[in-house]
Symmetry: C2
Subunit: 562 residues, 2 copies
């Protein structure tokens, strides 16, 4: 894996470079951060010619390691105006890894308002105009591409929202079923891809083989041990059965599952969306669990069927059930699944759009609990109606439009489905992460309502996640304890690359990634002052534990003391 | 003038304080900056409970000095997210000065979604609910208030745009004819007033007299000398005849009058909006020139009549003719006058809204030159239609909605009607002023296309304007050369207050004001990095002189070296 493919959309040219030696141990998020920090002027407009989209599989992509096939997308974000990485599962990373591609860097913008795909196979990359695919929804788009290029392709794509450069737009990645259900959802990166006129990247890895680790035995042994750990883990077992919604019964009790636009309090019939309920309903309709990427043993992704027994949506996750569900006062499972399907198809982030919908409810434009109106507003987004287009710009934009000052964002990005009052380390992550409120940047629920030690916990979790995002592993397919995770990564990297990295070297993958990101943000005008949660999180008590977020601001600002 | 009236909209209470001794020589913009910097948390949301609206007449308000009746409004701006001062002429400052009121500080927000007016006379202040006035356009509103409280009141008000908390909304001030034609237009301060539920401040100065200067003779002599200078000045003479549009013939030749959304180039029939043409047309219809504030000898404000010979709009200024005219490819005088009238009535900034309209044209939603569609979109704003409501949020917001990356703003505020490529000192002001792109923050056209010395010129102009905005003088009623202006101010302040200030002390009024503003912005997360013009201003050549803005960024960032 040592090729960097550059796609220049201005000149419609592609080149292949050999990756520099000092990039060897950079992958995924870490590689993306390095490239952006080196090549993109930090003050540039995110939709400008100068911004780039970095597509980078993790360091272990293409190997036989299961669940190490996450793919990172990086840009200056049009939503947060910070550096941004969002990653997804699916099949693309493994295919790129097998093709020896360490990164695709999409730069420039086409002179004409044209739409292209980038087609990549073992012979190289092509930039192909596809005027007939303009405006297509993700599912339709992928169907067309699979008709054209065969069922075995991996597709990275944007929906109409990305084409319209909406700041809540996603980049979708096809899963093992060939469905565009895995989204690098946060930060509006679909808009950057849209601004470059790239509708999709099609990856055909036909004729390639998995990357052989240099130390095959060590590699196999580590995987064997990892699978043994996972098999014994109670959390993993329930994840396999119920997917991420397994946490709903617990988090709704704790109060950290947002409800009523973060005003909190119980939502009627919440048991309708408990993981256990979903599983039962779905099995009865012929739905199933699957792994989003090849080789995954967890299989936590829900392939959800509708009342008619047909496929309705894939990857019905906890975050969606919270942000398009309880946070809107909605617990109708089928309605939420339909919303999820529409969002995937349009290519918008369910968290960002869900939170924007909650602001419409706050302003009295939609009644809390009115699932029909939410569906209609998503339909309006599809049809280009004004309220839909506003929602598609995300929470901060919608709040400004409505004149609201209770704006649940950090650095412009909507607070996701873990209310920081009830899980304070996550709150610290939201406001200090270089990329705005993002639960995947560092989640830690231990002793979650205490005031003590949360900054340290967030720090550790952020470094860990930056490491994991660079390696390309799925967080959910890892041991629960950090030392074990670092151990697995150390062994797999050393076995694959023939290196002799220590635990500290592995830790430094994460640390250096965050350093790169902070350096970019600093050059983009971000200071410690911006590391703060909205006021209401510090003032309004959250049920049922009547907690506010009370970590002192100076303690928060001291988090990255490199 | 030593009273500070506090209006607490949460508790609906008003108190009167004696102004602290160290506030004696703070007025207008300088006083506003001090109060905001002392009392408002810099990171607060501009529409939050914690933000305040400071209403502060200049230091010489209420005296017999002519054209020293400008009034400052200050807040953290919902448009720029910086500290903000916007000022206007009209009659309010003189009345407040006569009432001995140095500032009104509006704070808090009403618990119920109610609309109030603040009524101020020699007996004090009252907060009165006025549910019947909710949603009223500015002209209607003022008519109702004049019916209720007599013709001699001064009114400070917001239109429907301010009530809807639009970030392009203004605060209007009535002129000598009792019309709400003078606007503190920039920075969306109307939205802050709207967020506090204050529809209008009504000032009744009945029974009061002009402030007596301590040194009457010195005061009179200075005024006499000032008037003599102005009478002889050619610029003032043409200003009296043609108002601010007098510059159109010259600036359109120079290229600094924006056209075609800052793409530049000639606009057909531009002579239709030359000052000379407007004067001729308007006189033929029974229109006239007048002074916006009592005692003004310049009388540069155009009271413009329509084809039917009836009043159409007051204060038809150069900026409006550029931003709703040439920059949209429009030179139909009557159409622009109608737009101006609608903007005044709605309470929106013609610069911000004009520039947002130009972005609609850039995106192809309205054709360049289509004055009917512009009028329809303003009508949509009036009726609460979506595109109108988007425009009402200003240029940056509209650009995001449209997915455009050529965004003509500095610190979130639209670049006004002096293209920085053709007047580079003004460009330096746009990007370094603590309050975003604002021509009134420091204008200097000398040797305007040279690369040399522009940062110094902008610095001097910014300090001068900060001084003038603190004194409450009209820039247009001052000598053209800075030393003379400082001389006039020094003499008038010393005569009024019995002080013995030196030229340096007067200069320090401006310097200290900018220091306060920069300190606020620093605490709000603004750094030197943000002091920059949009890229296109540095890259796209402007006709007819084929110039770009080429002042080095490091020279720009060194401007405030206190």
């Amino acid at each position: 894996m040592n090729k960097i493919i550059r796609i220049d959309m201005t000149g419609l040219k592609r080149t292949t470079e050999k990756s520099p030696q000092d990039y060897q141990l950079l992958g995924g998020r870490g590689l993306s951060a390095r490239i952006l920090n080196t090549e993109v002027p930090a003050m540039t407009h995110p939709l400008s010619n100068e911004n780039k989209v970095v597509v980078a599989p993790g360091l272990l992509a293409g190997t036989m390691a299961p669940s190490f096939g996450r793919i990172s997308f990086g840009s200056k974000s049009p939503l947060t105006k910070t550096i941004k990485e969002a990653n997804a599962g699916g099949t693309a990373a493994q295919k790129l890894g097998r093709l020896g591609i360490k990164a695709i860097v999409v730069q420039g913008k086409p002179k004409e308002n044209q739409i292209y795909i980038i087609y990549i196979d073992s012979k190289g990359a092509q930039i192909l105009p596809v005027p007939d695919l303009a405006g297509k929804m993700n599912y339709d788009l992928v169907d067309s591409l699979r008709d054209r290029y065969g069922k075995d392709i991996g597709v990275i794509s944007i929906g109409p929202a990305g084409e319209a450069k909406m700041t809540a737009s996603t980049i979708a990645v096809t899963d093992q079923d060939g469905r565009p259900s895995r989204h690098a959802a946060r930060g509006g990166l679909g808009a950057v891809m849209g601004s470059k006129g790239v509708k999709a990247i099609v990856i055909n890895a036909k004729g390639t083989r998995a990357i052989e680790p240099l130390d095959k035995e060590g590699f196999k042994e580590t995987i064997r041990d990892l699978l043994e750990i996972l098999k014994r883990d109670k959390g993993t077992q329930s994840l396999s059965k119920f997917g991420t919604p397994r946490v709903i019964s617990f988090l709704s009790q704790l109060g950290s599952m947002p409800s009523w636009n973060y005003h909190g309090g119980p939502v009627k019939d919440i048991e309708n969306i408990f993981g256990e309920t979903i599983s039962e309903v779905n099995q009865g309709r012929g739905g199933r669990m699957h792994g989003c990427m090849p080789g995954c043993v967890i299989q936590c992704s829900i392939v959800f069927h509708g009342e008619d027994g047909k496929h309705l949506t894939s990857a019905l996750e906890y975050e969606t059930l919270a942000m398009l569900g309880t946070n809107l006062g909605i617990t109708n499972l089928d309605a939420i699944a339909r919303m999820d399907s529409m969002c995937d198809n349009l290519g918008v982030d369910t968290i960002e759009v869900g939170s924007a919908m909650a602001q419409l409810m706050e302003a009295g434009i939609i009644r809390f609990g009115d699932e029909q109106k939410v569906l209609e507003t998503l339909k309006e987004l599809e049809e280009g109606g004004p309220m839909g287009k506003i929602i598609g710009q995300g929470t901060a934009f919608t709040s400004q439009f409505l004149g609201l000052d209770r704006v649940p964002v950090c650095k412009g990005q909507a607070i996701p489905a873990h209310d920081p009052r009830a899980c304070k380390a996550v709150g610290v992550t939201y406001c200090t992460s270089p990329m705005g409120a993002d639960h995947t940047a560092g989640l830690d629920y231990r002793d979650s309502m205490s005031k003590e030690g949360q900054v340290k916990k967030s720090y550790d979790a952020q470094i860990l996640n930056a490491t994991i995002d660079s390696v390309g592993s799925c967080f959910l397919a890892m041991p629960t304890k950090a030392p074990l995770i670092y151990d697995v990564i150390e062994k797999l990297i050393n076995a694959t690359y023939g290196t002799d990295l220590s635990k500290e070297d592995i830790l430094n993958i994460g640390i250096n990634t965050i350093k790169e990101e902070l350096a970019f943000n600093h050059s983009a005008g971000w200071t410690d002052i911006h590391n703060r949660l909205p006021e209401f999180i510090k003032k309004e008590k959250l049920q049922p534990h009547n907690v506010v977020f009370d970590i002192p601001q100076d303690e928060i600002e001291s988090i990255f003391n490199f």
